[in-house]
């Protein structure tokens, strides 16, 4: 059984074949982009109606790679029960690779794929019962608007699949801020 939703497969193939088309003016690892975003999963039949999400937060750091860019980050989402199941939070550290295209002078689009580990923590339980861990993969599309020389406002949408036996598929909107700065030399030396 192929566990990868068609959308994720399409986006990954698109990224691989389009790397030659995007612009890559930056030196690999030459700059860092720190982003903070608020996340809001869409309402609907996530988790078969047993839980609803009140939103979450995502923090990431990105840098230009040899092709496209790399980001490492973590997101946390809170889920509240709609019945008698326990509330839980899910923390997902992830690694992402993507490409950017300038649209007009201050606006660019970034599309990326990501992979990570989801750590569920359930309220009211202890020991082994309290946590579960599962693999996550997903894709995001983000529009970034430059408001000042190093600041961007970002909005976008993400789609993530958590590979539990009955898969969890989450679509979320995100909005936030990103700040770009030159990479310190020691970071460039470490990453190269």
């Amino acid at each position: 059984m192929n566990p990868w939703p068609s959308l994720v497969r399409f986006i990954f193939a698109f990224l691989v074949f389009s790397t030659g088309l995007h612009s890559q003016p930056d030196e690999p690892f030459g700059s860092l982009e720190v982003s903070v975003s608020f996340l809001q999963p869409t309402k609907g039949e996530i988790l078969h109606g047993y839980w609803d999400s009140s939103g979450g937060l995502e923090i990431s750091v990105g840098t230009p790679f040899y092709w496209g860019d790399l980001h490492a980050g973590a997101e946390i989402l809170a889920f509240s029960t709609l019945g008698d199941t326990p509330n839980f939070d899910v923390l997902i550290p992830w690694l992402s690779w993507g490409v950017s295209w300038p649209i007009v002078s201050r606006l660019s689009i970034h599309v990326g794929s990501r992979i990570g580990i989801s750590r569920f923590e359930f309220d009211g339980l202890a020991g082994y019962e309290r946590t579960e861990i599962e693999v996550m993969a997903g894709a995001t599309a983000t529009a970034a608007y430059s408001v000042r020389s190093r600041w961007n406002v970002t909005v976008g949408v993400g789609y993530e699949v958590i590979f539990t036996s009955e898969q969890i598929r989450i679509t979320h909107f995100h909005a936030g801020l990103a700040y770009r700065l030159p990479s310190p030399q020691w970071i460039k030396n470490f990453l190269k």
Binding site: W4, I117, S118, V135, T164
Partner: protein, 642 residues
């Protein structure tokens, strides 16, 4: 110039297979870089790259191999060497390769022998692996690796709903650490390997929930070792001490077809070395002693789990190197004393061997090797011999043919439980065997290398372990009744084709296809060999656009395997959930899976970060009717080298 360099790289593999030190030469050589490039995290993973060893496993930690028909899965007699030491890893039913105290980053090369060959002065007729580690750099050096893995398919938050399923895994980690100091010809290396194995696959769990009083928890194996190398009397010597241990290992007893929670330790020491006697002659020696102890894990309510086995082994040989010939004369011994929960027919055994070997170069390109061994154990005796002829035309082509014969050879049977029987000439000795191997390697242009090999084995008096394994549907307890069956005869024919193409300095491809079939009028012979798949192979692509970054991808496939002894478990349900019934099946289906890996060097090459996606399409991968299924798994590994 670039093409010439590419050509040299390819033909390094072509020419290196003829090694006068190892006589007839290895069938396959894997270099350390091959392993570190591919998705290899443990030693048992190397057989991803060598599918003609036909792997099988129940829990993914202990593996059975059948190297090109040199022995069926029931006879794990292949040997493991580490820098010339013959390492004792064989306890109860398996040769526990993952307990060898060597991490992937220490390896310089691995020579795999699937043709009877002279290995370290011994005729190895059942297959062998010789691992050579990287020579230590002068001064201090430190290395370490840490790996975290997670297999998909957990129930997650659905645990509290009608979509609940059994948890298939816990996050498990592996790690290794090594510290080496070297000065001129003296070196000291300390190393420890730690592995964790969650025995949590539902196909295994469900059989054992009602049997085990107190669930043993996460299996941890720790393999520390210390190696000291020094020069003495003009020759190189090396001392090795190792202590592989298991705690809470839920190991599978093959004859009883059920799991036992045990703790085990296998301390061993070994010394190898050589001295020059004259300008043309050397004295070689190897001696080792080991003491295996296994005991049941507390509160697990089982029997037949307390075993001890003391082993002493050694070999001495005289080697003479003339201009066109190398001759070896040697004697060896293997002594073993066993004690367990059940009475054994043979609790002590001593096997002595005498070996003579001659490697002769008839010209720059023609090499022949003749090896003969006489074996005696008590009143039993046997002989084995191999003749090999190789023609090495450098960068043009390479051809080798080997014929080997075993007669009535007494051996230690690896499955301890069977030693409660008089094993006679059949199961204890693996039958008589005539084997033939032909290998041909040649380049295509300056970028591609083709390897083609075919082999044939004829067995007579090969006894099989008779067993009919059943599961009680109510509690999935096992009923097994193993015994030594009648002797059988038949043929094994097979072949391996590979083509390795270096498309550019950035991209290389490799395709390996193997096939093996039993041919016999004896249905017992045929059904025994059908436990190994007929078709196995892979296609691998490596893309390395920068020295510090590479991507690796592999498609690998396996045909089905059929286990007639397990036919009574067909259709027995081991899990019912919202997806339906999961059932056991004595026919293990084949699979086609894809693995992906990216690797990035950091901090000037002192760190490497690896992301491995194994079985990315989440196909059902199983190697045994009662075994775990290995689904889509994410592995993250960090390595350090200073």
């Amino acid at each position: 110039m670039r093409h010439f360099i590419i050509g040299l790289t390819l033909f390094h593999h072509l020419g290196a297979v003829v090694d006068t030190k190892t006589g007839a030469g290895a069938s396959t050589i894997l270099y350390g870089d091959d392993l570190r490039t591919a998705g290899i995290t443990r030693l048992s993973d190397i057989f991803i790259l060598v599918p003609d060893w036909r792997p099988s496993s129940i829990d993914g930690h202990s593996w059975l191999y059948s190297p090109r028909g040199l022995s069926p899965l029931q006879n794990q007699k292949w040997s493991v060497y580490l820098n010339g030491h013959k390492v004792d890893l064989q306890w109860i039913d398996f040769n526990h390769l993952n307990m060898l105290p060597v991490s992937i980053d220490m390896i310089d090369k691995i020579e795999l022998f699937t043709t009877p060959a002279n290995v370290e002065g011994e005729l190895q007729s059942d297959g062998a692996i010789h691992i050579s580690t990287i020579s230590p750099a002068q001064g201090f050096s430190v290395s370490g690796r840490f790996l975290l893995g997670n297999e998909t398919g957990d129930t997650g938050p659905y645990r509290f709903t009608e979509f609940a399923t059994t948890n298939v895994d816990r996050s498990a980690s592996d790690g290794s650490f090594g510290l080496t100091w070297a000065r001129e010809k003296l070196y000291v290396r300390g190393n420890v390997i730690v592995q964790h194995n969650p025995s949590s696959d539902v196909a295994i769990l469900s059989r054992n929930q009602s049997r085990v009083n107190d669930w043993p928890g996460l299996h941890r194996s720790i393999s520390p070792s210390i190696t000291v190398g020094f020069a003495l009397a003009g020759g190189a010597q090396e001392f090795l001490a190792a202590l592989p241990t298991n705690r809470r290992y839920f190991y599978h007893s093959l004859p009883l077809a059920e799991e036992r929670a045990i703790n085990s330790a296998l301390p061993q020491i070994s010394v190898v070395g050589s001295f020059p006697i004259s300008p043309l002659s050397e004295f070689h020696y190897r001696t080792s002693t080991s003491h295996f102890k296994m005991s049941q894990h507390p509160n697990t309510g089982q029997s037949e789990s307390d075993w001890t086995r003391a082993r002493s082994e050694g070999r001495i040989a005289l080697v003479r190197r003339d201009r066109d010939a190398t001759s070896r004369f040697g004697f060896g011994w293997l002594s073993e004393k066993r004690e367990g929960d059940v009475p054994l027919d043979e609790s002590e055994q001593l096997i002595v061997t005498a070996t003579a070997a001659l490697d002769r170069k008839f010209s720059r390109s023609v090499l022949s090797t003749i090896t003969g061994t006489g074996i005696r154990s008590g009143k039993k005796y046997g002989i084995e011999g191999a003749v090999s002829m190789a023609v090495d035309r450098g960068e043009k082509w390479f051809l080798r043919a080997t014929v080997a014969y075993l007669y009535s050879r007494p051996q230690m049977h690896p499955i301890t439980w069977y030693r409660r029987f008089d094993l006679g000439s059949g199961a204890g000795q693996g039958g008589d065997r005539l084997s033939t191997d032909i290998r041909w390697a040649f380049p295509i242009g300056s970028r591609a290398l083709v390897n083609l090999s075919i082999y044939h084995r004829y067995y007579s008096k090969l006894a099989w372990i008779d067993n009919s394994i059943s599961l009680y549907p109510n509690d999935l307890s096992i009923l097994s009744s193993p015994s030594i069956g009648a002797e059988t005869s038949g043929h094994i024919v097979g072949g391996r084709f590979s083509i390795h193409n270096r498309q550019s300095t950035q991209i290389s491809h490799k395709l390996v296809v193997t096939i093996q079939r039993p041919v016999s009028n004896d249905s017992t012979f045929v059904s025994g060999w059908q436990q190994s798949p007929q078709y196995l192979g892979y296609y691998q692509v490596i893309w390395q656009p920068r020295k510090s970054f590479l991507a690796w991808a592999m498609v690998r496939w396996s045909g089905k395997s059929q286990w007639s002894q397990y036919s009574h478990i067909d259709g027995i349900v081991y899990e019912t959930d919202f997806r339906g019934n999961q059932v056991y099946n004595s026919t293990v289906p084949g699979f086609v899976i894809i693995d992906l890996k990216v690797r990035k060097l950091l901090a000037g090459g002192r760190l490497d970060a690896n992301l491995l996606l194994r079985n990315i399409l989440n196909q059902v991968v199983r190697y045994h009717p009662l075994g775990a299924a290995f689904g889509f798994t994410l592995l993250v590994e960090i390595g350090l080298s200073l």
